[in-house]
């Protein structure tokens, strides 16, 4: 084994290679590794947060559903109550209308009966006069006997 200038050349090459690695190889790789580590840490944190958020959202959904169910029940009760009220009111209104109609009809019927009675009275009076004139076989002056006839009419009431 001989020692010669190869040794110093190798020494210089060695230092140059190490310098190059320090300058151009090591920093970018280390930076990439650190950045990736940070990215992964961030990703894991984000995943954790998402999991928490999901749990919260699920809880909120359950709450909302429960609230919605409750308020729907309330609405239904109120609507049923209102419906009942409306039906009652309608029933009362109908009863009132029926009573009014009955009253009107009765009034009408009373008036008609009255009119018929009057007409009948007139006819009875005429009939009585005609009968009397037949009986008396003489003409009776209706003007002369108006008072008599009026009295008769009055009695027929």
């Amino acid at each position: 084994m001989n020692l010669n200038a190869t040794l110093f050349a190798q020494l210089v090459v060695f230092l140059i290679l190490a310098w190059f690695t320090m300058k151009f190889v090591w920093p970018p790789i280390m930076k990439a590794l650190d950045d990736r580590a940070k990215k992964i840490a961030d990703g894991l944190a984000a995943a954790d947060k998402a999991k928490t958020d999901l749990a919260l959202a699920e809880k909120k959904v359950v709450d909302e559903l429960r609230k919605a169910r409750e308020s729907a029940g309330e609405f239904r009760t109120a609507a049923e109550k209102q419906g009942a009220t409306i039906v009652d009111e309608a029933r009362a209104e109908a009863a009132r209308i029926i009573a009014a109609a009955r009253e009107a009809a009765e009034k009408e019927a009373g008036a008609a009966a009255q009119r018929a009675k009057e007409a009948l009275r007139d006819q009875v009076a005429q009939l009585a006069v005609a009968g009397a004139s037949q009986i008396l076989r003489r003409e009776i002056n209706p003007q002369v006997h108006a008072d008599l006839l009026a009295n008769l009419k009055q009695e027929l009431k």
């Binding site: 084994m1 001989n2 020692l3 010669n4 200038a5 190869t6 040794l7 110093f8 050349a9 190798q10 020494l11 090459v13 060695f14 230092l15 290679l17 190490a18 190059f20 690695t21 320090m22 151009f24 190889v25 090591w26 920093p27 970018p28 790789i29 280390m30 930076k31 990439a32 590794l33 950045d35 990736r36 940070k38 990215k39």
Partner: protein, 290 residues
């Protein structure tokens, strides 16, 4: 003999020792006669280590430029796994600013792994390709030397461990101050007493030398030995000569080659990891007071 040596075999097949010596000879800028000669370069070691270093930082800078915080692809995830492994090791060893040390550890790990992995390529593949090129260029292919595992060259591993030593000294001064470091050099490990100053200083020097030499030698020794065993296994495979005994040797070569290559996957990774960990430990020691 392996395929690329057929031309050589036409004249005379290389003996086992010639084969191994050929494989263990570097492509040099000049012939080296003394043990230490600072005017000579190993061209093959430099070529392969620089190429693999460029490949490593090309791959990693591609991953870095595409890195986003989004979902990573397979390639990016693989790079990030390595980066995070290195970063967590650096974090557990270095207390203080790691903006240079952690990337340094990453460079050490990936670069050394790539250089070690050259051992898993077929032993004769790249040397033979080089032999053809060398022969085509009009030279004698017998002298086309090419060693493709830079970490099996002591110059490469000691060069890197020397780099780590320089960084240790730099961080010692930076963290403790020149005075604090000097104080430590003369008072640790035995204590603060004028009689002990030279002993302490000698111990510190031995410690630095031992750390640096063992750091580089460990990687070199493992890879050199591994390469040598691949060569011996290749010699078993090359023993084929039509006889029963040589046939059995050939089968043994295939089995041993497979087993050693599979085991070597562990070794190349482990050695790269050990070199990186020791780099961190030594620089970490520079951060701490004794």
């Amino acid at each position: 003999m392996a395929t690329g040596h057929e031309a050589a075999a036409a004249e005379h097949a290389p003996t086992a020792s010639e084969y191994i010596v050929h494989h263990l000879t570097h492509l040099k800028s000049a012939q080296q006669t003394s043990l230490v000669d600072w005017s000579v370069f190993h061209v093959d070691t430099l070529f392969w280590s620089v190429s693999l270093g460029l490949l490593a930082i090309f791959l990693f800078s591609r991953a870095a430029s595409k890195a986003t915080a989004g979902v990573p692809g397979r390639f990016q995830a693989a790079v990030e796994i390595i980066v995070e492994m290195v970063d967590s090791q650096a974090k557990s060893i270095i207390h203080g600013d790691r903006s240079f040390i952690a990337p340094l550890a990453l460079t050490v790990f990936v670069w050394i792994f790539f250089m070690n992995a050259m051992d898993l390529l077929p032993l004769d593949l790249l040397p033979n390709v080089w032999g053809w090129i060398y022969g085509a260029a009009g030279h004698d292919p017998h002298h086309a030397y090419m060693r493709v595992v830079p970490t099996a060259d002591l110059n490469a591993t000691l060069g890197m461990s020397l780099g780590v030593l320089i960084l240790c000294l730099y961080y010692s001064v930076k963290i403790k101050g020149i005075g604090g470091w000097m104080h430590e050099l003369f008072t640790a490990p035995f204590g603060s007493h004028p009689v002990l100053y030279p002993i302490n200083f000698a111990m510190q020097l031995i410690e630095f030398v031992a750390k640096t030499v063992s750091h580089g030698m460990r990687l070199f020794g493992n890879m050199y030995a591994g390469e040598l065993i691949f060569m011996l296994i290749a010699l078993m495979g090359a023993a084929w000569a039509g006889t029963l005994g040589s046939g059995l040797l050939w089968i043994g070569g295939v089995l041993a080659g497979a087993i050693w290559a599979i085991f070597h996957i562990l070794i190349i990774t482990l050695q790269a990891f050990i070199f990186m960990m020791l780099t961190l430990v030594y620089i970490g020691q520079a951060h701490e007071s004794h």
